[in-house]
Amino acid sequence: MELTLALAIGVLIGSGVWLLLRPRTFQVIIGLSLISYGVNLFIFSMGRLRVGAAPVLGSGGTVNPADYADPIPQALVLTAIVIGFATTALFLVVLLVSRGLTGSDHVDGREPN
């Protein structure tokens, strides 16, 4: 299981890095999105990973933390997902405006010679 997840994170980030180094803006934006999946999963996996643990506290009584899913990586990743959407939107708009201004969708704003 951990191997599957580790491989998945690796592939997501590897494909993302590949796209990040490509010359077209849309490639970079897809790359950043893939990296953000990978990074979110990576941060998430830094906590106590559990399958089938209760995510929500039961009612009453003392709480044994070992019975529950780790909430901290979840809280970190939850806001990261929303902020990730915002930065994707920002980057998309920057690239559209840049393409409007320069006429090119190359990341440098001009076609390579």
Partner: protein, 984 residues
């Protein structure tokens, strides 16, 4: 005993409140002044004048306590661990300066009312002026050296803003920048010096530092401390060789020159030297460094002043010279010298401020400040002329005026032998020479401007200034006269308090009387007066014709050297480094970024060794593996297709996102899964909206010959990607196979319900335990959304993306070809069923969002998810029926949602202040509602409502702004077409 106790109490309270008030008042006033309407000249003057007057009253009221008790203090803890307290301390010396700052501040405000014209944006002026007043008062009443440096830098900044007040004027900008560079660098060296002092003494508290003079002087770091602090003081007081910024600062409005650049800010340097005089002075190094700078400034400044054609330039060089005189006095290391220095600081401020005001009046009434063009103004403005004459006589050191008294003391000190050296021998000669120059430039100013034939072709016909504009000058000149005639009765006791507070054990006997008999200093004075008058007569003809600046030195300008140095450092070197190391291309930068990240991760692995853990938390589930087989295929596919098949890549990206979402669900994180799912939806919509504006790109293998260079680059990037991916896999694997350490997660789990009142621990962390972080995050979200909106408002698409997309063109042609069809019918017919479903889904999704929001505290959900769901509800409407249809029926106003969300969250957070708790402390309890029963109610849920509103606003704003571009283009082209057809 009772009386003593009461006195102590009163003393303490007075110190605390009045000192704090003195600092806070100008800054508050500055804020208010900045927000008044731009033509509210009178309101600004009332405000600023009232504050200056208030300062004056506060300072005056503190005098009895200071005269009796030595100093009043106010202590506030700031960062006690760094030894940094907000300590204010006013002793006699600080008091004298505080009086000076507030009194001249008041007069300058009054003067500025008439000086500033109706077109000038006065709120900015008075706002900066008040803030400067606060900062300057801060310097003099700081009881902590670090605090002093902070105020010191603030005066530099406000001086910069005030010099550059008329920023349309290039010389104002250059002068402001130069002043900031010179005094700002000085401020930084001063900070370094002060840090060293703190290191030596072990405290930044002024009183402790003042008591540690011997320790500092005998310390091995004494010379560095001295040099660093002197650099700060000499740059601020425009002393040679850093004097050149002051004449250039004359581009400022004249009230600023009168206030900052003659009376107060430039005095900060000599103030500091006098303040630290008991600690630093007395050594050989002090004598030489300070003495040389002072003497050079005194003589050269006076000499340069003679040859200035601009009145303000003349006064600026004269200021340099007089500050040099003060510096020289301080260099001597004798208590009498320090007395004379403090006395001259006050005298110079009085006469120089009034002279600047005169210069401003002349400029205001005639339209020029060039001495060559002005003459014979006495007949037009006799009162101003008389006042200016008295003030210049004080500047020249004529008897019965205040300037004479301090100059006599200066001569007496110059004659005395302090440290046997050439500098000491030269001092009396330099003193007479400089004074003779001072007489010459004073006569030149008066004679050149007010006497001689009537002026010709001036920009304005000169006439007397209004009474209230002259009034501040009159007061100041009156002070010059009274102090000059009866010094003992007027300034005497106050000066004594000030001097005692600086020199306390070493306060010498001194006499302030006007007549000391026929002494050597008196003879020196007479010689200087006569020599100065003769010098002026000899130079008169030459001065009327010559260019600006003294002969020979005209070519050698500190300003030019400064500019050349600036160009070299900030332009040539920077360009060289940029051309060697920089690139404007993104890819190498990103490659570097990836490389750095890789090295940062690889280094610890290499040095500590890689050792995967042994923990097996569960066996590989074949379903999980199968899901990720799909996810990996999607990720690779997206990477492969992103260049030529953007739609496919977008879909594949969505696939990878969904698998991520399933993983969260699998690993017991339903909150994340929900958020991911909804964000996935809006991200896809976003990317689809963006696709329309990108250029078409078709894969054509026959023409796109791949060069060897490109192939090599791809191989390199591919290897990079594989390496990074592999590295991340290894690290993740190593972490996941280890038992996680105990984290604060346990604490959150155990206390979420008892303290946060919620069972969904993730949500409780977000809105309660770490509410402040969430507040920051939603702020970022709002900022990003507004940025997107702002960028798109001026969006101009590339020419090849302007026309309708191909599919829309086909539909339109089809509709137009048939008379029974309206334009747009095809698309609405085509999407009829889905669009009806989507329209009907609107209330359903809203209910879903409300449900997610309400249950968020106890079950998976919360403000973020609910916000995105709500945004999706709106977007569905846009997609189903089109932008125009929706906006005819529904006004979403996303910016208001954002504003409301942020404000509401902040207000909820501030609500806890009312109950005496820190920001964002939440409260939870159960409410008994009729029919429903016990309902959990936490203030955190209200905070979550702010989060919800902001997320809705931000998401909708971004998507709608992008969606609008299509119709905006169409509308614009339609308007253009109509205009064209009408024109035809």
């Amino acid at each position: 005993m009772g009386a003593d106790f009461l006195y102590e109490q009163l003393h303490g309270m007075m110190g605390d409140t009045s000192l704090l008030l003195m600092i806070v008042m100008p800054f508050v006033g500055s804020l208010i002044a900045g927000f008044l309407p731009s033509n509210a000249r009178n309101a600004e003057v009332w405000l600023a004048g009232a504050i200056a007057l208030g300062e004056l009253i506060l300072a005056s009221a503190a005098y009895p306590a200071i005269a009796a008790g030595g100093a009043i203090r106010a202590d506030l803890e700031w960062i006690p661990t760094l030894g940094l307290n907000f300590t204010l301390r006013m002793d006699g010396f600080a008091w004298l300066f505080a009086m000076l700052i507030s009194a001249i501040g008041f007069l300058v405000v009054l003067y500025a009312r008439y000086y500033m014209s109706a077109e000038d944006p006065v709120p900015r002026f008075f706002s900066f002026l008040l803030a400067f007043m606060g900062a300057m008062l801060g310097i003099v009443i700081s009881g902590n050296l670090i605090l002093l440096v902070i105020f010191w830098e603030m005066t530099s900044i406000f001086s910069f803003l005030l010099i550059g007040y008329w920023h349309h004027n290039a010389s104002a900008r250059d002068g402001a920048r130069m002043a900031l560079t010179v005094t700002g660098i000085g401020g930084l060296t001063l900070l370094a010096g002060v840090l060293l002092v703190g290191h030596i003494v072990g405290s930044y508290d002024l009183e402790r530092v003042l008591a540690s003079g011997d320790l500092i002087r005998s310390h091995e770091l004494y010379v560095p401390v001295l040099i660093l602090i002197l650099l700060g003081a000499l740059t601020k007081s425009a002393q040679f060789p850093f004097h050149f910024w002051l004449p250039n600062a004359m581009a400022a409005p004249t009230p600023v020159s009168a206030y900052l650049h003659s009376a107060t800010m430039v005095k900060a340097g000599v103030f500091l030297m006098a303040r630290l005089w008991p600690v630093l002075a007395g050594s050989q190094e002090w004598f030489w460094l300070v003495g040389l700078a002072g003497m050079m400034s005194f003589v050269l400044g006076a000499y340069f002043a003679i040859f200035q054609q601009d009145i303000k330039g003349l006064l600026a060089y004269s200021t340099i010279s007089h500050l040099g005189l003060i510096t020289m006095l301080l260099s001597l290391g004798s208590p009498l010298g320090a007395v004379a220095a403090i006395f001259h600081m006050m005298n110079h401020a009085t006469f120089k401020a009034s002279l600047f005001m005169a210069a401003g009046i002349i400029d205001h009434e005639t339209g020029t400040r060039d001495i060559r063009r002005l003459s014979g103004l006495f007949r037009f403005m006799p009162i101003t002329a008389t006042l200016a004459m008295v003030a210049s006589a004080a500047m020249a050191g004529v008897p019965l005026l205040n300037g004479f008294l301090s100059k006599e003391m200066f001569f007496a000190e110059a004659v005395e032998t302090h440290q046997i050296s050439i500098l000491d021998t030269a001092a009396p000669y330099a003193a007479v020479l400089g004074s003779a120059f001072a007489v010459a430039y004073s006569i030149r100013f008066i004679h050149g401007v007010f006497f001689g034939p009537p002026p010709e072709d001036l920009p304005h016909t000169p006439h007397e200034a209004p009474f209230l504009m002259r009034f501040p000058m009159q007061l100041l000149v009156l002070a010059c006269l009274i102090v000059g005639i009866v010094p003992g009765l007027t300034i005497g006791p106050f000066l004594h308090t000030a001097v005692t507070s600086v020199l306390s054990p070493a306060t010498p006997q001194y006499s302030l009387s006007v007549w000391h008999g026929f002494t050597l200093p008196l003879i020196m004075s007479v010689v200087a007066l006569v020599a100065g008058a003769i010098l002026y007569l000899l130079l008169k003809g030459y001065l009327a014709r010559c260019e600006e600046g003294p002969p020979v030195f005209r070519k050698l300008k500190g300003q030019r050297i400064f500019e050349r140095a600036m160009v070299t450092v900030s332009w040539r070197w920077a360009r060289f480094i940029e051309s060697q190391l920089g690139t404007r291309r993104l890819q190498p930068q990103l490659r570097l970024l990836v490389l750095v990240a890789f090295v940062a991760a690889f280094w610890p692995l290499y040095s500590l060794g890689f050792d995967p853990g042994r923990l097996n938390w569960t066996n590989t589930d074949p379903i999980f593996a199968a899901i990720w087989a799909i996810g990996i295929a999607c990720a690779l596919g997206a990477a492969y297709q992103a260049k030529f098949h953007r739609l496919a890549a977008t879909i594949l990206l969505g696939g990878a996102g969904l698998v991520t979402c399933l993983t969260f669900l699998w690993l017991s994180a339903p909150d994340l899964a929900l958020t991911q799912l909804l964000v996935e939806i809006v991200t896809t919509v976003l990317l689809l909206l963006g696709l329309r504006w990108l250029p078409k790109r078709f894969e054509d293998k026959s023409t796109d010959a791949v060069t060897i260079g490109a192939r090599l680059r791809r191989v390199r990037d591919f290897v990079t990607a594989i390496t990074v991916g592999l590295g991340v896999t290894l690290i993740s694997y190593a972490v996941m196979t280890r038992a996680p350490p105990a984290t604060i997660a346990d604490y959150f789990l155990q206390n979420a319900y008892s303290e946060g009142g919620g069972k969904n621990v993730v949500n409780v962390i977000l809105v309660d335990f770490r509410g402040f972080d969430t507040f920051g995050e939603i702020t970022v979200l709002g900022v990003v959304a507004l940025t997107v909106f702002a960028l798109l408002r001026r969006f101009r698409p590339a020419p090849d993306s302007v026309e309708r997309p191909e599919q829309q063109r086909i539909q339109k042609d089809f509709d137009e070809a048939r008379p029974d069809r309206e334009a747009g019918d095809t698309v609405s017919d085509y999407l009829l069923v889905p669009s009806v479903i989507m329209q009907w889904l609107f209330p359903v999704v809203i209910v879903l969002a409300a449900y997610l929001f309400l249950r968020g505290h106890d079950l998976p959900g919360g403000g973020f998810v609910a916000g995105v769901a709500m945004a999706a509800a709106f977007i569905l409407q846009y997609m189903a029926a089109g932008t125009v249809w929706v906006e005819d029926r529904l006004r979403v106003l996303p910016v208001n949602w954002i504003g409301f969300g942020l404000l509401f969250a902040a207000l909820v957070g501030m609500g806890s202040w009312i109950f005496g708790y820190p920001f964002l402390t939440s409260h939870s309890q159960y409410l008994e509602l009729p029919l429903i029963g016990a309902v959990p109610a936490a203030t955190a849920a209200l905070f979550d409502l702010g989060v919800f509103s902001l997320v809705v606003g931000a998401t909708v704003l971004m998507l709608i702004a992008l969606a609008h571009q299509s119709i905006r283009r169409l509308r614009a082209s339609r308007i253009a077409a109509e205009a064209a057809s009408e024109g035809a």
